[in-house]
Amino acid sequence: MTDPATSPAAPGLVIEAGRSETHYWRDLWAYRELLGFLAWRDIKVRYKQAVLGVAWAVVQPAVQTFLLTFVFGKLAKMPGGGVPYPLLVLAGLLPWQLFSSAFSGAGNSLVGNAHLISKVYFPRLIVPLSALAVALIDLGILLLLTLPYSFCFGVWPTWRLLLLPLFIALALLIAFGAGLWITALTVKYRDFRFISPFILQIGIFVTPVGFRTDFLPNWRDWLALNPLSSAVEGFRWCLLGGVTDFYWPGLATSLATTMLLVGTGLWYFRKTERQFADVI
């Protein structure tokens, strides 16, 4: 018997301790259809037996927009700088909604799919990725409603709108990195099911969702440490036709922290992934 790894006749799949690395990325591609199916299932199932159905995707951000407008615009009297305050909030809420839905979806995804993890092989990365896909679809719905809403306020799209996909990608990457961490941690420590709503509650205030950063120069650099700040500013810049000022040093910081988040997230996820089936 020769070593199967060196035998040219029929290269087989070798299962060994610590060997899963080699096929991983190829498998991920091979299972891309599963990614689609899981996302499709989650969307399909979410609004079953809900009377309002898909309307929920809109109700929640609408209420949040109202609340944030009230708290920041009316009570705190933050300046809107010529932009209708609800629109300002809504533009910031879009990336935040994308992040928070992907983040909480990812956190629950592996535990929610425990029966799959313990019975079938597929690259586990598919599961948090499908949560991301679901969040992206929600964003799409919201975006479709935001545009006519901004027309009502007399804000018309400019060439900047074409750059929006870049900021969507940024928000997705942030959600992906954070989602990887929360997913892997939730599998191991169920505490993170309680921690992640906290993170989101705090997050909405340390991210400039309800206020403009260009009127807070002292805080700008601090806020830039949160990679989502840049995404929020970017969304505003694209959607509101450049009325708001975009903070370029903030983007650099944001890109760096995002890369760090995604890199370490991938590393930690891959590291713990092989124990998922045993621990879950």
């Binding site: 199967p4 087989g12 799949l13 070798v14 301790a17 899963s20 079938v120 092989r274 045993d278 621990v279």
Partner: protein, 420 residues
């Protein structure tokens, strides 16, 4: 390695670390544990002792293309762990497996079925989870639906399905996978009998016609026997034996078809809380022969002799026997009181002989459950008292027994008359 071998398992081991020191499902425990570990290491230079458990230890075997191999073993023998490693759900601790070909594993029917989705949607979802491509599922869709016999309910959410329909649909998807290697665990334990037969039939055709390799784990020895050419027995994580189904299954029955002509029942497992005024002591098979006292030829007469011990005077005494097949179904039930009253009995030793005549059970292994009852209540009950094997005899081969499907091969008197 010869290219004919599609699965090569080489010194495969899997270790689990058990004990509450090792797993921390919540953060507080983990932090607490880490702190204590550091403290101990600091104080005594040692960490925690963890208890290891080898679910699999140095298991090696090879499976050739087109073979259908059964894996049997008691609970905890490592069957599921082996399948989980082969299906890449978990990693081995040591050793390696080489798989040649597309693997599909079926550790459960209906993995990923979502109750809210319709039958149609679940076919696609489940197919994708099992590794089928969308166009592949679409191509086989009608076939799957026909196999599952659920046409009318295709657009009903599966939560409204009966459990039988659910299982049928789930298995139908799995049965239409086209992997080179199919790994199946216990899936036939569910579903009605007719459908089980259909599944077995499907798996048989698949392996025979398409040369696919099947690895089949089941407690259903009947199914293993019917389907597999080879059986691997695991015991306590190690490979115990590997050979023909007949020999392996006989072993699995607990090396149960014993070699002692007179079998003591004193230490047999007893169920319930018997009164205990009368106790079963031993059993022997009067019709058995010297070499294999518990093997009865198919056309032989089954006569059992029990010895019992009575410690209190009893007004009535009744012996009950149940004969179970390998699937655990009670096939024949017998009570002594149908024929005669065995009591009253004074304290002492008695022998009771039971003559079934020709029992006409199809060749296989059978398990006896035996109970004693008196006016005071249930005196003694051994749900798994002993096993016997009915072997095909020379005469039986003439009877063409291999074609019978029933548990009982009952003769009847036939007569033909011309009536036109």
């Amino acid at each position: 390695m010869s290219s004919d071998i599609v699965i090569a398992v080489d010194n495969l081991s899997k270790r689990y670390v058990i004990g509450h020191d090792s797993r921390h499902d919540n953060l507080r425990d983990a932090l607490h544990h880490t702190a204590r570990k550091l403290w101990r290491r600091f104080r005594w230079g040692t960490g925690f002792r963890t208890e290891e458990f080898w679910a699999l230890r140095d298991v090696s075997f090879e499976i050739k293309r087109g073979e259908v191999v059964g894996i049997i073993g008691r609970n905890g023998a490592g069957k599921s762990t082996l399948l989980k490693i082969l299906s890449r759900i978990t990693e081995p601790t040591a050793g390696r497996v080489t798989l040649r070909g597309r693997v599909a594993s079926l550790l459960e029917v209906g993995t990923g079925f979502h109750p809210e989705l319709t039958g149609r949607e679940n076919i696609f979802l489940n197919g994708a989870i099992l590794g089928m491509r969308r166009d592949e599922i679409r191509r086989k869709f009608d076939e799957i639906v026909a196999f599952a016999e659920v046409e009318r309910f295709l657009d009903t959410p599966v939560k409204y399905y009966s459990s039988g329909m659910y299982v049928r649909l789930a298995f139908a998807v799995a049965a239409h996978l086209e992997p080179e290697i199919l790994i199946v665990d216990e899936v036939l334990a569910v579903g009605d009998y007719a459908f089980q037969k259909k599944c077995l039939g499907k798996m048989e055709t698949v392996s025979r016609n398409d040369g696919r390799t099947i690895l089949f784990v089941s407690h259903n020895l009947f199914a293993v026997h019917q389907l597999c050419q080879r059986v691997v027995t695991l015991e306590k994580g190690r490979l115990f034996s590997d050979g023909t189904p007949e020999a392996q299954i006989r072993h699995y029955m607990g090396a149960n078809v014993k070699q002692d002509a007179c079998l003591s029942l004193a230490s047999a497992a007893r169920a319930l809380n018997p009164v205990g005024h009368a106790q079963l002591r031993s059993v022997s098979m009067a019709s058995g022969h010297a070499g294999s006292p518990w093997v009865l030829p198919f056309d032989g007469v089954l006569e059992l002799v029990f010895t019992i011990h009575v410690s209190q005077p009893l007004h009535t005494l009744e012996l009950g026997l149940g004969i179970f097949n390998t699937q655990g179904f009670e096939i024949i039930s017998t009570l002594s009181s149908w024929q005669q009253e065995l009591g009253p009995a004074e304290p002492g030793e008695y022998s009771i002989s039971v003559n079934y005549g020709n029992i006409e059970l199809a060749p296989a292994v059978y398990r006896f459950g035996v109970g004693l009852k008196s006016n005071a209540g249930l005196e003694d009950y051994l749900p798994e008292a002993f096993d016997i094997e009915i072997a095909p005899s020379e005469n039986a081969s003439r009877l063409n027994l291999s074609t019978i499907r029933g548990a009982v091969a009952r003769s009847a008197r036939f007569k033909i008359e011309r009536i036109d």
